[in-house]
């Protein structure tokens, strides 16, 4: 099947613009790690996932667990573009009473399958969903995106054992390997090296790709679906802050909002 790569790249760019705009409006949020996963969000929501935006709780839908919940501006943008809720909601990110909480909350946001934000918990939940699907005889997929710094949480490795032990090949997981966490690089903070090798040692089928290359993302997911009995971890080499020159590879943009001038400059770079 020929896929429209150019279209997905445009969607990713739109997601990036919405990330900048919504975080700028909110005055707080996490632009760096949202921008680094925008290409994956576009590929999942505009190509890969079997979903019905008009029926968010459709039983047979593919699920997405944003374990690195602080990157929710990317998810919120994708969901709005898919029509889960009006685009105007993005203007109310992090406001009192908003359906768009500072971290994903299934209780308020249509399309958010799992509440996340406390790092390290998402893969366990994804495993549980896959076990439930198996009990129900359903074959939907559960996609789970983790941060690279997040793999410093012990629960990630508890869950990594479980996915393999229970042969949950319908869990397709990703690590956003942008090498930065709040206090510095993941290597200098916790000697967090060779993420791929660690998951391989736990028995995963590991693929390493360019996380900003839409074709590679799609191919990796296709390949993951061919893996029988062994779950797949797709390690995406990414750039934190991707697409906005002054944010790229800058640890300071993990959790701070751009000013109005910076928003204008970023949007200009993103082709608005």
């Amino acid at each position: 099947m020929m896929r429209n790569i150019e279209y997905l790249e445009q969607q990713a760019k739109q997601i990036r613009r919405l990330i900048i705009r919504s975080i700028g409006k909110a005055g707080s949020g996490h632009p760096g790690g949202s921008l680094s996963c925008a290409d994956l969000m576009a590929a999942l929501y505009f190509d890969v996932m079997n979903i019905k935006p008009q029926e968010p709780l459709w039983e047979d839908r593919d699920r997405f667990v944003l374990s690195k919940g602080h990157a929710c501006p990317a998810l919120y943008a994708a969901l709005a573009m898919k029509g889960y809720y009006p685009m105007e909601e993005l203007d109310h990110l992090r406001e009192l009473g908003s359906i768009l909480q500072g971290h994903p909350y299934s209780g308020k946001t249509p399309g958010v399958d799992v509440s996340t934000g406390s790092l390290g918990q998402g893969l366990s939940v994804a495993n549980g969903i896959a076990l439930g699907a198996r009990l129900d005889g359903k074959d939907y997929y559960v996609y789970c995106l983790m941060g690279d710094g997040e793999t410093e949480e012990g629960q990630v490795w508890e869950a990594a054992m479980s996915t393999v032990h229970y042969r949950l090949d319908h869990v397709i997981a990703f690590v956003d390997y942008n090498h930065l966490q709040i206090d510095g690089t993941i290597e200098e903070i916790m000697g967090n090296v060779n993420v791929a090798g660690r998951f391989e040692a736990f028995g995963w089928n590991v693929l390493t790709i360019d996380g900003h290359n839409t074709e590679e993302i799609l191919q990796a997911i296709d390949s993951a679906k061919e893996s029988k009995g062994i779950p797949t971890m797709i390690v995406m080499n990414t750039v934190k802050g991707k697409g906005v020159s002054f944010m790229e590879n800058q640890v300071g943009w993990h959790g701070s909002a751009p000013s109005a001038d910076q928003v204008a400059q970023a949007l200009k770079e993103l082709g608005e």
Partner: protein, 310 residues
């Protein structure tokens, strides 16, 4: 002497019974199935049982995922590890999104005995009650446990339930006993003092009431199996009659049932109170009966505290 059954045994039996006609019920454990008695479910329904290994955080997270698919997961381990180690998973992955996960903490209280303080949950009920959205249950005997298991399956939402390790007397009549989440039960009528007891200490409260009666003091005994939401009406109504209250629990007083009762009464009808429970301390190794005596969880100590109020 009535029959002795540990509430964990009653739990293991009940969950099999009610899972027979409810395929949504699934059970997870963290390598303690033979202690929490979820092993019975494993034998009966192996396809619906998942051992997650010695990994309580993953246990709770996996249960949360199963709940999002419409299952009713019972996540079982020791109370210390459930409410302690996996506290934040329970808070963020289960309670906050109001998922239908049942957290089952076995070996609650100090009557665990010789394993000592590391394995004696004294604060599980208090910390679970502090979490918004959580229903917290602490059944007192086998009959109440069976009924509570049925009720928590019927209730759509997160529940914490404490299971006891040691055999305790069966006090309720299985033919007439009716359990409702949030409702306490007046098990004995009296006019001079109210004894509010939960879990294993219901038996102690009843023994104390007998001793008091021998001295002409009529104690009203209220059994509270639901720590949260608390049956405030029942307690306030009784306090209005007796004018004094003693609360009994096998756990820390701060944040536990003692605090909850004091909170309710202080707002609606303050009366002098006393507490039987762990006074801001950990347990230790020892024979269960000796431990209960050491920490003052006895009928004699209850009688002594009642007399302080008379």
């Amino acid at each position: 002497m009535s029959e002795l059954i540990a509430t964990r045994d009653a739990f293991g039996q009940a969950i099999i019974e009610f899972a027979e006609n409810n395929e949504k019920v699934v059970v997870l454990d963290a390598d303690l199935a033979k202690a929490t008695m979820s092993c019975k479910f494993k034998d009966a329904y192996p396809n619906r049982f998942f051992d997650m290994g010695i990994a309580e955080c993953d246990l709770v997270g996996t249960a949360a995922g199963l709940a999002t698919t419409g299952k009713i997961p019972f996540a079982c381990t020791f109370a210390v590890f459930a409410a302690g180690r996996a506290f934040e998973q329970i808070r963020n992955s289960v309670a906050y999104p109001h998922l239908n996960v049942k957290i089952c903490g076995s070996h609650g209280g100090i009557s665990v005995g010789k394993d000592g303080a590391t394995h004696q949950a004294v604060e599980d009920l208090a910390v679970m009650a502090a979490v918004p959205n959580m229903v917290v249950l602490n059944p007192g005997d086998a009959v109440e446990m069976r009924a509570a298991v049925k009720a928590m399956i019927d209730y759509d939402g997160p529940v914490y339930i404490r299971l006891g390790r040691n055999p305790v007397p069966v006090v309720f009549d299985p033919d007439t006993y009716c359990f409702q989440i949030g409702k306490g039960i007046k098990v004995r009528k009296g006019k001079d003092v109210t004894l509010v007891a939960t879990g294993s200490l219901l038996d102690i409260a009843n023994q104390a009431a007998e001793k008091l009666l021998a001295e002409g003091i009529q104690a009203e005994v209220i059994n509270i199996a639901t720590i949260k939401p608390l049956d405030k009406d029942l307690i306030v109504e009784s306090a209005k009659k007796t004018q004094r209250v003693v609360v009994l629990e096998e756990g820390i007083i701060v944040g536990g049932l003692g605090s909850a009762v004091a909170h309710a009464l202080s707002e609606q009808y303050p009366v002098p109170m006393r507490y039987i429970g762990m006074d801001d301390c950990f347990g230790q190794s020892g024979d269960p009966v000796a431990l209960m005596e050491y920490y003052g969880m006895t009928a004699e100590e209850t009688v002594r505290k009642v007399k302080e109020l008379l």
